[in-house]
């Protein structure tokens, strides 16, 4: 199916189902219930899930397959965003040219930086990529302000030239990014009983692109090229003495994963036409590393899961404030309520970083294979109970 083996095709279908039904799956709690706080089915977060999924999938092609740990990958995301916003400013609000230009630009940057950085391996490679990204961040934030918008970020203005399109709408506003008239921000909300579900054009557009990116990554994993990349991670010496030149392989992987990052950056800009320099800061590069490791390095689905987990924490846990906590535990006796709230409070809201740190430590200590390993363990439990009924859900295996 789709030129994939059955196992991979099943995984792809599962991901298709998950992304297409995401508006339902992410909004499992009725709107007025106390648990509605945990609903993640609103456009911005859903978009972020898939966009960072793309970023992590691409990163995994480099890190998961070749073992080369780039610590400056966010730079390509930033370059992609800037390129896309410039296309919006100068050419048209259609997202396609912006995405194409962004992918090309970030690919070129990746080619240059990769060519230089790949002259070294191991931590020396990591530091070289980090150094390039930090330089790009620092310059974008300061001296390159005319090109990048500096601290504020590059944003659209009412006087942008925009060759194929208008500078401003009839109402005097800045036009919004779209795809042949379909605006990315268009949203339809459907209420069903006590539930409410949101369907957003931008999300579905990004989700389709993510599926393509995911499909492509499966193909790469299973291709001779992917096999060579895994061979690089496993034993470069043997590969060299087998007549293969590792440099173009790693460089190709670096450029491909840089283009994935650029694609993610362009989509971010398409959903929200602003490109900020912080996107290139080392913590942003670190974040994608953490997403990939958290989900499961070198697995197909892991990076997507990792991206989802971190973005969920950042956007949902960080919004739980003490007022919300009190409303949850209001049924308890007063003193006890305060006690429970006092215990939970440091871990939510502004303490979400703490929870994130603890989760990193727990996952890496007890689930060395990341969330994917957790899924496999659960799957095993199920398998034990009902012997191979339809294959357990969420079953994913490392690429090896």
């Amino acid at each position: 199916m789709f030129g994939l083996e059955t196992k991979d095709a099943k995984l792809l279908l599962l991901v298709v189902a998950l992304t297409m039904l995401a508006p339902f799956l992410l909004n499992p709690f009725p709107v007025d219930s106390a648990m509605a706080q945990f609903n993640a089915g609103y456009p911005d977060l859903m978009q972020r899930f898939v966009i960072f999924g793309i970023f992590a999938i691409g990163f995994n092609i480099l890190f998961g397959l070749t073992g080369y740990l780039s610590f400056g990958h966010a730079a390509f995301l930033g370059v992609g965003s800037y390129a896309a916003v410039w296309m919006f400013k100068l050419l048209s609000m259609n997202v396609l040219p912006a995405i194409v230009l962004a992918v090309i630009t970030s690919g070129l940057f990746a080619l240059l930086i990769g060519y230089i950085s790949l002259r070294r391996s191991g931590i020396y490679f990591s530091i070289l990529t980090l150094a390039f990204a930090q330089m790009m961040f620092a310059l974008a934030y300061s001296v390159l302000t005319p090109i990048t918008g500096g601290e504020t970020g590059l944003q659209l203005a009412l006087d942008d030239p925009r060759i194929l399109g208008t500078s401003a709408t009839a109402e005097g506003n800045i036009p919004v990014p779209g795809l042949f008239g379909l605006e990315m921000r268009d949203t339809t909300e459907v209420a069903m009983g006590v539930w409410s579900f949101t369907f957003n054009v931008g999300y579905y557009f990004s989700a389709v692109i993510m599926l393509l990116a995911f499909y492509l990554s499966i193909r790469i994993f299973r291709s001779p090229f992917g096999m060579m990349l895994r061979a690089i991670k496993s034993n470069q010496t043997r590969l060299n003495y087998t007549g293969l030149n590792t440099k173009p392989y790693t460089l190709a992987a670096f450029v491909i994963s840089g283009m994935y990052a650029g694609l993610a950056g362009a989509l971010m800009a398409s959903m929200d036409p602003l490109a900020g320099a912080e996107r290139m800061f080392w913590t942003a590069s670190g974040e994608v590393v953490l997403m990939t490791i958290l989900g499961g390095v070198g697995t197909l689905i892991g990076p997507v899961l990792g991206a989802g987990a971190i973005k969920y924490m950042e956007n949902i846990i960080s919004k739980i404030n003490s007022e919300i906590l009190h409303s949850w535990f209001a049924f308890l006796p007063d003193g006890f309520e305060d006690f429970i709230v006092a215990i939970i409070y440091p871990f939510v809201g502004k303490g979400w970083h703490l929870t994130l740190g603890i989760i990193f430590m727990l996952v890496v200590t007890f689930l060395p294979g990341g969330l994917v390993e957790g899924g496999q363990r659960i799957a095993k439990l199920f398998k034990g109970k009902k012997a191979d009924a339809n294959g357990p859900k969420g079953k994913t295996e490392p690429a090896e």
Partner: protein, 445 residues
């Protein structure tokens, strides 16, 4: 938490989705255009408080959040009413906003444009916030303001001091109560001339980003107009923590004044470093060497400890102001939280009240109606004397404080003393000088 079912320009065929073998929707919201984004339909209205909760400005964000909670309490008729009693407009009745109880959601800007927009978006898309407010830096303010313009909600800026916010990056849906770099320069210059003379050589250290640029320019222009000479202006990286290599050459340059166009952590470190170098004990050109910090924040100034004593700067507001509005605010804030409010807390509190008042006067939450009510609005009793929300750029014009680090603080909050209240007339400027286009208000759906 209630949430309204609202749609913005739904073009997806809801029928197709509904027909996909799912439970039949009880309510297709696409059918009911409410006229603007997140129009409150129930008995409550949700406001979004978007403040830094992690990162270096977390404490300032916490102070802003406390002010918002206080404002909500007062709007809903709780507490002692605070500035509602001194506010010149009497449209607010303590029954929420036009009868709707005020609820709020909070988010973390992380002092990053991206994170701030994500947080604001979630408030608008998920929680149905009809107004977003807060923030502790200009980059965030400008980014979130642009987002609110697109989404069709009102943005009431928190602490943002760059000229750009209501200058080249102004938006019709955005409003700023806080003062800006230009006003700082205009207010400071005469005081500096009086205290330090008209024959001074200034050395600027400037944070290398937008706010730093506008502040340096404002202070340079206004001091040079008085006869000061600018010896040098050096840009320092945002991520710099140790400023020694920037401060070391200052004495050799022949300058006798050092202007630190830094804010927050940068300011604390550069000021501490400058004092370490003993600059303030030096005599140059036969004059005492002086240091100036154009924008003071009492909260952050605490980090610099005794180093701020005797240093001039400007501020939007300070808790020791003697007017009735300030006193009422300090009293209700201090009673509730045990410490005096910061200027960030003040501006956030006032912005919330101003928004609520504008809704009450307009009789609608429609952003365009609110904007109309705010534009050109003259008011008093909120702490800075008679104030105008200028229609052309949505900037408030009011008195500006020139402050000085106190020599003998009586407590950890008592760090600044007010040197002069610069009257509004002295800091006004033409709305067109910073460029940019306001555009027209966007009600969203």
């Amino acid at each position: 938490m209630s949430k309204s079912d609202v749609t913005r320009r739904g073009v997806i065929k809801t029928g197709a989705l509904a027909g996909a073998g799912l439970a039949l929707p009880t309510y297709l919201s696409a059918a009911s255009h409410s006229g603007f984004t997140n129009a409150p339909t129930g008995s409550t209205v949700t406001l979004g408080f978007n403040v830094p909760q992690s990162g270096p400005y977390a404490d300032e964000g916490a102070d802003e959040l406390r002010a918002y909670e206080l404002a909500v309490e007062h709007l809903n008729g709780g507490g002692d009413g605070g500035m509602l009693n001194t506010f010149s407009s009497k449209a607010l009745e303590g029954n929420g906003i036009i009868g709707k109880k005020v609820e709020y959601v909070t988010g973390d800007t992380q002092t990053k444009s991206d994170a701030a927009r994500a947080s604001a978006k979630s408030m608008i898309e998920k929680d149905g916030a009809v107004m977003i407010t807060g923030g502790s830096s200009s980059g965030v303010a400008v980014a979130v303001q642009a987002l609110c313009q697109e989404a069709g909600v009102i943005f009431m800026a928190g602490l943002t001091h760059s000229n750009d916010t209501t200058g080249k990056d102004k938006r019709a849906n955005g409003f700023r109560h806080f003062f800006n770099s230009y006003m700082s320069g205009a207010a400071l210059a005469p005081i500096l001339a009086n205290n330090y003379g008209k024959d001074r050589k200034a050395y600027h250290l400037t944070a290398d980003y937008n706010w730093g640029y506008t502040t340096e320019e404002a202070v340079r222009t206004s001091t040079e107009a008085m006869g000061w000479e600018t010896v040098a202006a050096v840009k320092t990286p945002l991520t710099q923590t140790d400023f020694s290599s920037y401060i070391a050459p200052v004495l050799q340059s022949g300058a006798d004044v050092l202007v630190l166009n830094h804010y927050g952590g940068n300011m604390v470190n550069s000021l501490t470093n400058a004092v370490q170098f003993g600059l303030r004990e030096k005599q140059v050109n036969g004059k005492n060497f002086e240091i100036i910090v154009p924008l003071f924040s009492r909260l952050m100034a605490r980090g610099a400890g005794a180093n701020i004593k005797g240093i001039f700067g400007s501020a939007n507001w300070h808790w020791s102001l003697p007017d009735e509005g300030s006193k009422a605010f300090v009293k209700s804030y201090g009673t509730k939280y045990g410490n005096p409010p910061s200027q960030a807390a003040h501006t956030c509190y006032v912005q919330t009240l101003l928004y609520a008042d504008a809704v009450a006067r307009a009789g609608s939450f429609n952003p365009c109606a609110v904007a109309e009510a705010l534009e050109g609005f003259e008011f008093d009793g909120l702490g800075n004397g008679p104030t105008l929300y200028r229609a052309e750029d949505h900037q408030c014009f009011k008195d500006v404080l020139v402050v000085k680090g106190k020599e003998n603080p009586t407590s950890e909050f008592d760090l600044l003393e007010i040197v002069e209240i610069t009257p509004r007339g002295q800091v006004e400027y033409d709305a067109s000088i910073f460029g940019g286009e306001l555009g027209s208000c966007n009600p969203g759906a």
